[in-house]
């Protein structure tokens, strides 16, 4: 008897110790700015994904706590008290079984519906081509990224975008499969050799004021905010080194930067005319490097 009472105690103790250990060790990490969910989203699609994640968490938490609590009740209440004891004789209940088939089905249907709405809103080809102010062709190669702009120039290492502007992104690769991922802005899109994928971002203007988080830092020269990401598809020995930086700046800074990119290659254009704000509002905008195929 003493054995059967000490065992649950030991279980509780062990769980407490494990929980405390986890807490103690994870606290400095959390205090350090490591986020429990995603890094603060800084683009509308990033926001929507974040919200969907939070929505799923409500039923998930109920199921998790319900199951673990039931297991604990079983562990404490239904131990064998004496060697000859046998369990109850019932072994089925149609009502119960229908309940725990129908309720999960409904939950799943709601989650799938919410996710489908979000897919239509932010992941369709139409969403990516919704009156973009700027087109950037992202190209992966072992082991770096290059970004080709509407205006015809290409930069490496760091992509620069204006805040508050719709940026249409196309992705492809010159060699193996890569995956472009900046968690604060949007989910991943694969860069696959042989065809072009597309996506979009629209960086919140607020990041010019507040740019704090371990995945971002203030760019002193421009006052912009640099978001950090990494290649997410194993692409060879240098995979770990294939970093991504996106610098979001004000429109003025962006125009100045664009001008600077265009002058060194000695392309004598009297008026640089980036005019991203004057992009055609009717009809798809011409994309120089990739043909989006709706």
């Amino acid at each position: 008897m003493s054995r059967s009472t000490s065992r649950p105690l030991r279980l509780v103790l062990a769980s407490l110790v494990a929980g405390a250990a986890l807490f103690v060790v994870s606290t400095p990490a959390l205090a350090n700015g490591l986020s429990l969910i995603f890094p603060d989203p800084a683009s509308p699609n990033g926001h929507n994904i974040y919200d969907l994640y939070v929505w799923i968490t409500y039923p998930a938490a109920v199921v998790f706590i319900g199951v673990e609590a039931t297991l604990l009740i079983i562990i404490f209440r239904f131990r064998r008290k004496h060697p000859a004891q046998v369990g109850a004789s019932w072994h089925g209940s149609t009502a119960l079984e229908i309940t725990w088939t129908v309720i999960p089905t409904l939950l799943i249907a709601v989650i799938a519906f919410l996710a489908f709405q979000e897919l239509q809103r932010d992941f369709s080809v139409e969403a990516a081509n919704n009156h973009p102010d700027l087109n950037v062709a992202v190209r992966g190669e072992q082991f770096s990224w290059s970004y080709t702009y509407d205006q015809g120039f290409t930069v490496k290492n760091q992509m620069v975008v204006p805040v508050g502007k719709m940026v249409h992104l196309t992705f492809d690769s010159t060699d193996v499969i890569h995956s472009w991922w900046v968690p604060a802005l949007n989910g991943k899109t694969d860069a696959v050799p042989g065809y072009t994928n597309q996506s979009w971002i629209k960086v919140d203007p607020g990041v010019l004021g507040s740019c704090s988080g371990n995945d971002r830092h203030r760019d002193q020269a421009t006052g912009g905010c640099v978001f950090h990401g990494e290649c997410a598809e194993l692409c060879g020995a240098g995979h770990y080194s294939m970093q991504i930086d996106v610098l979001a700046v004000s429109q003025q800074e962006f125009d100045a930067w664009t001008k600077k990119q265009q002058t060194p290659p000695a392309t004598p254009k009297p008026s640089p005319s980036p005019s991203p704000s004057a992009s055609p509002s009717a009809g798809p905008s011409p994309s120089p490097s990739a043909k989006p195929s709706p």
Binding site: I56, F78, P104, I108, T189, L234, G236, A237
Partner: protein, 549 residues
């Protein structure tokens, strides 16, 4: 039926057991000896792949370490995944089923004993081929999924990829042989009275697993063959000039059902263990069988959920999302049925039962994170991050490995005649539970925070603390496996003598000796329910039997 024709040879094998001359092991067609060889071989693979994991954890303990270089790290990642999935979990479960299923259905051996032996002997060939890569300039370095074009000749000229494709082709052939054998044995060699709805749930699980492997083994071999033709003959099935994504379709059409191949037998074991130690009949036998086949059916329509970021049409993605999330329903049914079985039971927490509850408590986390991952938009964030690493280990370790350990502690007395030590088993369980959750729980956070999987090192200082903690806990997990190995070595010689039926079991394997004679049963018992031994005991005690089928 070569085995039945030469009983004296097998007798000899049994007299001398594990340390008998090598020739007996080399020539045996006995399903029990073959089962033990499967388990022994795949457990060695488990230890090797576990050591690889520890090396990777040391490398990741702090930012910018260079314990191993990136190329070696990529080979370790690939070998860890391939070994655990193909050579450990799948094959260990094949070994357990090889030993137990024929006895559970009251057969004297598998339907095709020589095919069984051939199927097993292809296993060392397959493992040997894969590991040859390490001695030929480097093994596979593209992850266990081996996506082209990274595995094409142009980007990967070494022999490692070739050894990998050949290894998996041999593995698939071996698996298909075993599947045919299991299905035939279960359908054709059942004891008198054992109708399909009187099959123990572990046997049903083996039917489902065998069906799955029979269906998806060929597409895997196909993907490997095309990869190899691309490499050797310059074709363009999967190269940049062809369709790299086609490979992903083929691979995951195998790869996702493979997850269920690795978990359904575990579900079957839990369905045997919980009723026995609760002294209560399984709740909802028929719905358990239906749920298994619900999972089998759905599992073949979900593969593209591994491909949400390759740019599929959103309506196609929606279909895969719906089917993927739907798998939570039959899995949930099984979960609720197990809990209902234990509810109001008379539970004894022996080591197998502890592992069964450890499985329930941890696997539910893998199930829930699976629902998050099924939602396409959320998955585009979580895909290929440490969140997925955490999820898959909750499914494959919290699921498959915990059930495997439950099954080993449960059936070890049948295999050897001696019980595993309970005190060591208790330590084994608690260190594994804490070590496992310590290692993998907080990986979810790393993934959400942006750490991609399969990176050889990282620069972010704020990831250092968590990674260091994970590394420490991974050594606790390894320690738990060490305790298990010690327990097996000790108990084989000094364990408590088990007798025929140490757990007061329900099924036929407990009706025969431990270990069973080569012919399994002196007299094949007659079966009136899915708990034939329980019936026999109740009849002997003068009580009404539980049979109602």
């Amino acid at each position: 039926m070569a085995t039945v024709a030469q009983p004296q040879v097998i007798d000899e094998a049994y007299e001398r057991s594990l340390w008998s001359p090598i020739t007996v092991w080399l020539t045996t067609t006995d399903h029990k000896l073959i089962g033990i060889m499967y388990m022994f071989t795949s457990f060695l693979a488990f230890l090797v792949a576990g050591i690889f994991a520890l090396i990777m954890r040391v490398q990741l303990a702090q930012p910018n370490l260079n314990v191993v270089d990136a190329e070696t790290y990529n080979q370790l990642v690939s070998a860890h995944g391939t070994t655990m999935i193909f050579f450990f979990v799948t094959l260990f479960l094949t070994g357990m089923a090889n030993y137990i299923v024929p006895i559970m259905v009251g057969a004297r051996d598998m339907a095709f004993p020589r095919v069984n032996a051939l199927g097993f002997w292809l296993v060392p060939v397959s493992i040997g081929l894969y590991y040859s890569g390490f001695f030929a300039g480097g093994a596979l370095n593209a992850g266990w999924t081996g996506y082209p074009p990274l595995t094409s000749k142009h980007f990967n000229p070494g022999l490692g990829v070739d050894f990998w494709t050949l290894s998996l082709i041999v593995w698939a052939i071996s698996g298909i042989m075993a599947s045919v054998n299991f299905l035939t044995t279960i359908l054709a060699l059942r004891a008198p009275g054992m109708t399909l709805l009187r099959l123990p749930l572990f046997v049903w699980a083996q039917i489902s697993t065998s069906l799955l492997l029979l269906i998806v083994g060929a597409p895997l071999a196909g993907a490997m063959i095309l990869t190899e033709i691309d490499r050797q003959f310059g074709t363009n099935f999967f190269t940049s000039a062809g369709r790299p994504v086609l490979y992903q379709h083929l691979f995951w059409f195998f790869g996702h059902p493979e997850v269920y191949i690795m978990i359904l037998p575990g579900f079957g074991m839990i369905s045997e263990i919980i009723p026995v130690f609760s002294r209560k009949r399984i709740f909802g036998y028929e719905s358990m069988v239906l749920a298994i086949f619900g999972i089998v059916f759905l599992s073949m329509g979900v593969w593209a959920h591994h491909m949400y970021t390759v740019g599929l049409n959103i309506y196609v993605e929606t279909m895969f999302m719906a089917l993927t999330a739907a798998i939570a329903v039959p899995t949930g049914i099984k979960f609720f049925n197990w809990m209902a079985t234990a509810w109001q039971g008379a539970i004894e927490f022996t080591t197998p039962m502890k592992f069964a509850f450890g499985f329930l408590a941890t696997f539910v986390i893998g199930g829930i994170t699976g629902v998050y991952l099924s939602a396409v938009p959320v998955d585009t964030q979580l895909h290929q991050s440490y969140y997925v690493v955490a999820h898959l280990h909750y499914v494959l370790f919290g699921g498959s490995v915990f059930t495997i350990f439950a099954g080993i502690y449960y059936w070890f007395p049948k295999w050897t005649g001696r019980l595993l030590n309970e005190r060591l088993g208790n330590w084994n369980f608690w260190t594994m539970l804490v070590g496992f959750n310590g290692t993998f729980l907080i990986m979810h956070t790393l993934g959400l925070d942006g750490m991609p999987r399969r990176i050889a090192t990282y620069a972010r200082e704020d990831w250092a603390g968590v990674n260091f903690f994970i590394t420490v806990m991974s050594f606790l997990l390894a320690f738990s496996v060490l305790l298990f190995v010690i327990n097996v070595l000790y108990s084989r010689k000094h364990g408590v003598i088990a007798g025929n039926d140490p757990w007061d079991g329900n099924t036929l394997e407990w009706a025969t000796t431990s270990p069973p004679e080569p012919y399994n049963f002196e007299r094949v018992p007659e079966v009136r329910s899915f708990m034939p031994l329980r019936d026999a005991k109740l009849a002997a005690a003068g009580s009404p039997t539980a049979s109602d089928h």
